[in-house]
Amino acid sequence: MGLELLRVIFPRWNFFDRVRYQLVLEVKQFGTKEWLPISFNAARTTGGLFINPEVTRLHAEMSLLENFAQDVQKLVDSNGQVESARVQALTSFKMVRSLVVNRLMVASEADVQFRISAKAGHESVVLYVSDTVEVSR
């Protein structure tokens, strides 16, 4: 991880190189059954060519989801299971949890679960489903 923090000076220059699945972050309120996607939409802004904070943040958040998905995959054991406590100890988990809580602070007051799926065309694979997350009030 130490060198990962300095990866900016070890560029790989691979852009749009793989047609990856699209990661989808969804939440479900406690006591309900419906999973609702968290939006990653942005509006165009005047001067966006110069500063584009909302979109740059969305790109950073999407990278975070990819990092988290990779971290979770590394924890999958030979039975295809992931130990919840180990996932929750991940820095990327804490950050995704903060992302979810931050997005829901206004929209919801109920505790939630979140899940991350990889979607490619009409196929979708659930990579992780969280325990209940308390939304701060």
Binding site: M1, G2, E4, L5, L6, R7, V8, I9, F10, P11, R12, W13, N14, F15, F16, D17, R18, V19, Q22, F40, N41, A42, R44, G48, L49, F50, I51, N52, P53, E54, V55, T56, R57, L58, H59, A60, E61, S63, L64, N67, T91, K94, M95, S98, L99, V101, N102
Partner: protein
């Protein structure tokens, strides 16, 4: 393009890019989400485990206020570098920029951070040495990185069947944060997508050989590169990529001069 002109242009453009990155980071911090996700609470343990620094230093570095200080650092030193470019100032700018990336677990905006760092390191070298024969290594470093970035991106796409048949392009466009781009992706015919994809692959490969061109032809290629990077900004909101790559381009013009007119150098 002479060494002095190319160095001056790179220096001004990358200083401007860093200044913009500082303003953008400050706005991101003020919007709140960044402070909650990239918070000290979330990152401190990881930074302590991975940074070879005393724990109390890391605690200070991980503090939420550090994000604001780093934004002001990018803005302030970016502005100073624009007005008074020097080796010392560019060393500090590069340091602040790399620290900002470390505070974001390695990167704020992917490849644009890397290109910014490569250009800052190159321009620092070009101001560090008084003799042009040594200082030119900085601009050559920048141009080599720029050419590798295009070449590797083109090669990676060429290996993917989805890029060669055009489906990758529509797939990426359909994942844009902008609704109009997502709608556009649904209306692009497979044939058009295939042509556009091959256009991108050929263009990225061709750029590797651009320093062999004379100034007038290279200017035309640069013009197409500006359109290419602007299209990336328009489709995906990658404004930082636009400025980081454009800032590196004068180094290509200098390299072209070295290759085509070696006796003048």
């Amino acid at each position: 393009m002479s060494f002095a002109l190319a160095r001056g242009l790179v220096a001004h453009l990358i200083s401007f890019a860093v200044f913009l990155q500082g303003v953008e980071l400050l706005k991101m911090v003020h919007q709140g989400a960044v402070l909650k996700i990239w918070s000290r609470e979330n990152l401190e343990d990881e930074l302590k485990a991975n940074l070879p620094l005393p724990p109390e230093w890391v605690t200070y570095f991980a503090d939420d206020a550090m994000l604001t200080y780093l934004a002001y650092g990018l803005m302030g030193f970016g502005a100073i570098a624009f007005v008074h470019p020097s080796a010392l100032v560019f060393f500090i700018v590069a340091l602040v920029q790399i620290l900002a990336c470390v505070r974001f677990r390695g990167s704020i905006n992917g490849g644009s951070d890397s290109m910014t760092a490569m250009v800052l390191i190159g321009i620092w070298i070009s101001y560090l040495f008084k003799k042009e024969s040594f200082a030119c290594a900085g601009l050559i470093w920048i141009s080599v990185n720029l050419l590798i970035s295009y070449g590797r991106a083109g090669l990676a796409k060429l290996k993917q069947p989805e890029w060669k048949d055009g489906s990758a392009l529509t797939s990426f466009l359909s994942q844009s944060f902008y609704e109009d781009v997502r709608n556009l992706s649904a209306n692009i015919s497979p044939e058009t997508a295939k042509k556009l994809s091959w256009g991108v692959i050929v263009f990225e490969f061709a750029l590797v050989f651009s320093p062999l061109l004379a100034d007038s032809s290279l200017s035309l290629v640069f013009f197409v590169a500006v359109i290419f990077h602007f299209a990336n900004y328009w489709a995906f909101g990658l404004n930082r990529f636009f400025w980081a790559w454009i800032a590196a381009w004068p180094a290509i013009f200098y390299l072209s001069e070295v290759i085509n007119h070696p006796a003048i150098q």
